[in-house]
């Protein structure tokens, strides 16, 4: 701010530390306070690193798969596009000085590429996570599975939160009948065992072909039955926010209801929304992995949950096959939960540091 700048620093004989403090106070908005609090929280930072690592992994693997699909469909590389096992044009090689250049170590193979005569190999330098019974490299499977698993979590949680936020906002703002109806609907949704309902719906829609594969159906129904919690939190948030004077002031300026709800009150609910989303993603990933584990996933998809389901019977004889996908599900859930908990503390206005 101008006032701070105009202070003659020499005259007041401020030491370096105080000056730095003044400097840091300048941008002491809510978000810089939140960031400072998270940085102090070791577990939160661990969660953040895990989440960032997984997001990077998912993004890179997704881009690689997209490039591969495009190259294949454009016939730029050899390979039979009708046979996924032959799409071996995608790999990341590991090079080091002095190595035999004609025989590089392939770090990531196409997740569907099946190594002939290399099935059920335990972890080795060539296949750090081993291979599965089809001769597919487990490291590649896990690496490329990240994009599907995380995308399911993000998309599933975002659609759920969007539905919940819109309905919760309207109910909280208008109250009365709208609120009453919404609450009864949520009670009905809560009274049904969601997981069994999901399985029922998946079985019901087994033969329905829609773009995006089986998981599109799952996400749609997951969002349709899962928005209750978000709606209740946003609704109660709106109940207190709508009584604030700035809502009345905004109305006196001639703003419409929708503008007040979504442009003025909702941004004030950002903190709870961030917590809901972060903590929720872990739950959604877990739910989808569990669905896949019980055999209600998409056997053609490359995802941790589906791989886990495929090899769950081999836990004793070939433990690496189900173990690595399971470990990554574990770390994802752990990372998001740690980050979510840390965010919840950091965004709590009652805590002052």
């Amino acid at each position: 701010m101008a006032t701070v700048d105009k202070v003659d620093k020499e005259e007041f004989l401020l030491d370096e530390k105080t000056l730095r403090e003044i400097e840091s106070m300048k941008g002491a908005g809510q978000w810089s306070i939140v960031w400072r609090r998270i940085k102090k929280d070791k577990m939160g930072m661990l969660g953040l690193y895990i989440v960032l690592f997984l997001i990077m992994m998912a993004l890179v693997s997704w881009i690689l798969l997209m490039v591969d699909n495009w190259l294949t469909s454009a016939n730029l590389l050899l390979g039979d596009p009708n046979n996924p096992a032959s799409l071996n044009n995608l790999y990341i090689e590991l090079w080091y000085p002095g190595m035999d250049q004609s025989n590089p170590i392939v770090l990531f193979q196409h997740p569907r590429y099946q190594f002939a005569d290399q099935s059920t190999l335990p972890p080795s330098w060539e296949h750090p996570f081993g291979t599965d019974r089809l001769g597919q490299d487990m490291l590649s499977r896990v690496f490329f599975g990240a994009s599907v698993s995380l995308a399911l979590g993000f998309i599933g949680q975002m659609t759920t939160v969007i539905i919940g936020t819109v309905l919760g906002s309207l109910a909280g703002f208008y109250g009365g009948i709208i609120d009453n109806v919404l609450q009864r609907v949520i009670e009905v949704l809560y009274s049904m065992p969601g997981f069994i309902l999901m399985i029922f719906i998946i079985v019901l829609f087994e033969d329905v072909q829609i773009p995006g594969g089986k998981y599109a159906v799952v996400i749609v129904f997951f969002s349709l039955i899962g928005w209750g919690g978000t709606a209740l939190i946003i609704r109660s948030n709106f109940f207190s926010l709508k009584e604030q004077d700035f809502v009345e002031a905004e109305r006196a300026l001639g703003a419409s209801d929708m503008r007040i709800i979504f442009r003025h009150i909702l941004p004030n609910s950002l903190a709870p929304l961030i917590i809901i989303i972060t903590l929720g993603i872990a739950g959604v990933i877990f739910t989808f992995a569990a669905l896949a584990f019980f055999g209600f996933g998409d056997p053609n998809a490359i995802s941790w949950g589906d791989d886990l389901n495929k090899w769950q019977n081999n836990l004793l004889d070939y433990p690496w096959m189900p173990m690595f996908p399971a470990l990554f599900i574990f770390f994802t859930v752990l990372g998001f939960n740690l980050l979510g908990d840390s965010l919840r503390d950091a965004l709590d206005p009652r805590l002052k540091d």
Partner: protein, 352 residues
């Protein structure tokens, strides 16, 4: 001091606003008639809970519903009844032709947006301008209302402003569309005294500059004396007395107005106890019958004030009183009972 009818900007006729709460029906406004002329400042004065703010919200049609509801009355602005307008048409008037500033600048600004965003939004809502133009206009209007280095402050959040500066931001928002009528709901109450004076001075200056009418809601007779051309005294949902500021202060006709003026401490008066008005403002769920002031009134005519609502008596053009002392019924009662009810022309204190 009546002015020609074409000078009337806003006319409220028989406004009635109730709140339907679980405890019962709060009869907040029973019958309000107000005239606001062009470029005049009308003071609306009364105790807490007398319905001043509800009147303001009723004019703009933003009484919280539920539980509030405007039951009767007309709010005529520029010859058209605002109550008959559609929601969309009404929104075009709010903030554009009639703006409002609120009592507490601490909570009336949205904490998550910069003040520049909020002033710009008021402009964008009513004028076809780009964001950049709106921002420039915001800076201009912020310096107009006396916010120093407005071009830097425009990107600050409300919490970075002091109370007085926030009220200036609120005034800037209200002025941003050059309204013809500004409703100021206790604009200086939550500020300390020196800032109060500045804010009132600012309102006065801008009202002259923008040629704008103001309805100034306050419970501070000092503020009224300083700012207003005319004053309407409210009690429990009725207007007791309306008149020119000089008339009201010099010779109040209504016992309540007299009580209010008598309760002002005066530095020039001898050390005497302040006159107070007995009792407290009534519960508006079960208000006193007829004239709602009668239980606290020194001039209560038993059997009349509590049974028949006094009609409005025009003492002289522009000076209306709602009290039985001046009605035909009242005069008949006095004759019948042989008692005299008369208000000395000056409040007791003023003579001291």
């Amino acid at each position: 001091m009546s002015r020609p009818p074409e000078d009337v900007l806003l006319e409220i006729k028989g406004l009635k606003t109730y709140f339907f709460t679980e405890e019962g029906v709060v009869k907040a406004i029973e019958s309000i008639d107000i005239l606001v002329h062009k470029s005049e400042t009308l003071g609306l004065v009364g105790e807490s809970g007398s319905g001043k703010s509800v009147t303001a919200l009723s004019i703009l049609g933003i009484v919280p519903d539920p539980p509030g509801k405007i039951l009767e009355g007309e709010v005529i602005f520029h010859g058209q009844d605002l109550r008959k307008l559609s929601d969309a048409d009404m929104r075009k008037i709010r903030g554009n032709q009639i703006a409002m500033i609120f009592q507490d600048p601490m909570t009336s600004l949205n904490p998550v947006f910069t003040v520049g965003d909020q002033i710009s939004e008021a402009i964008i809502l009513h004028q076809k301008v780009t964001k950049k133009e709106a921002r420039e206009k915001s800076i201009k209007i912020m310096s107009l209302v006396g916010i120093p280095s407005a071009d830097e402050r425009v990107d600050n959040y409300p919490f970075e402003f002091s109370g007085g500066m926030r009220q200036r931001v609120m005034i800037a928002m209200a002025l941003s569309c050059n309204p013809e009528l500004l409703i100021a709901d206790e604009p200086s109450t939550s500020l300390d005294v020196t800032i109060q004076a500045q804010i009132l001075e600012l309102l006065k200056a801008t009202s002259e500059e923008f040629d704008m009418s103001i309805i100034l809601i306050t419970h501070d007779m000092g503020v009224i004396a300083e700012m207003c051309d005319r004053v309407a005294v409210m009690y429990a949902g009725f207007i007791c007395e309306v008149g020119d500021i000089i008339i009201i202060f010099k010779s109040p006709y209504h016992p309540y107005t007299r009580g209010l003026l008598g309760a002002i401490p005066r530095p020039d008066a001898a050390r005497e106890d302040l006159t107070i008005i007995r009792g407290a403002i009534p519960n508006l769920i079960n208000p006193p019958s007829a004239c709602r002031f009668h239980p606290r009134c020194d001039y209560w005519m038993e059997g009349l004030c509590d049974t028949i609502l006094p009609s409005i008596v025009t003492i002289e053009p522009g000076h209306d009183v709602r009290c039985h002392i001046y009605t035909e019924e009242g005069k008949a009662w006095m004759q019948q009972h042989g008692e005299k009810r008369e208000i000395s022309t000056m409040p007791k204190k003023a003579t001291g």
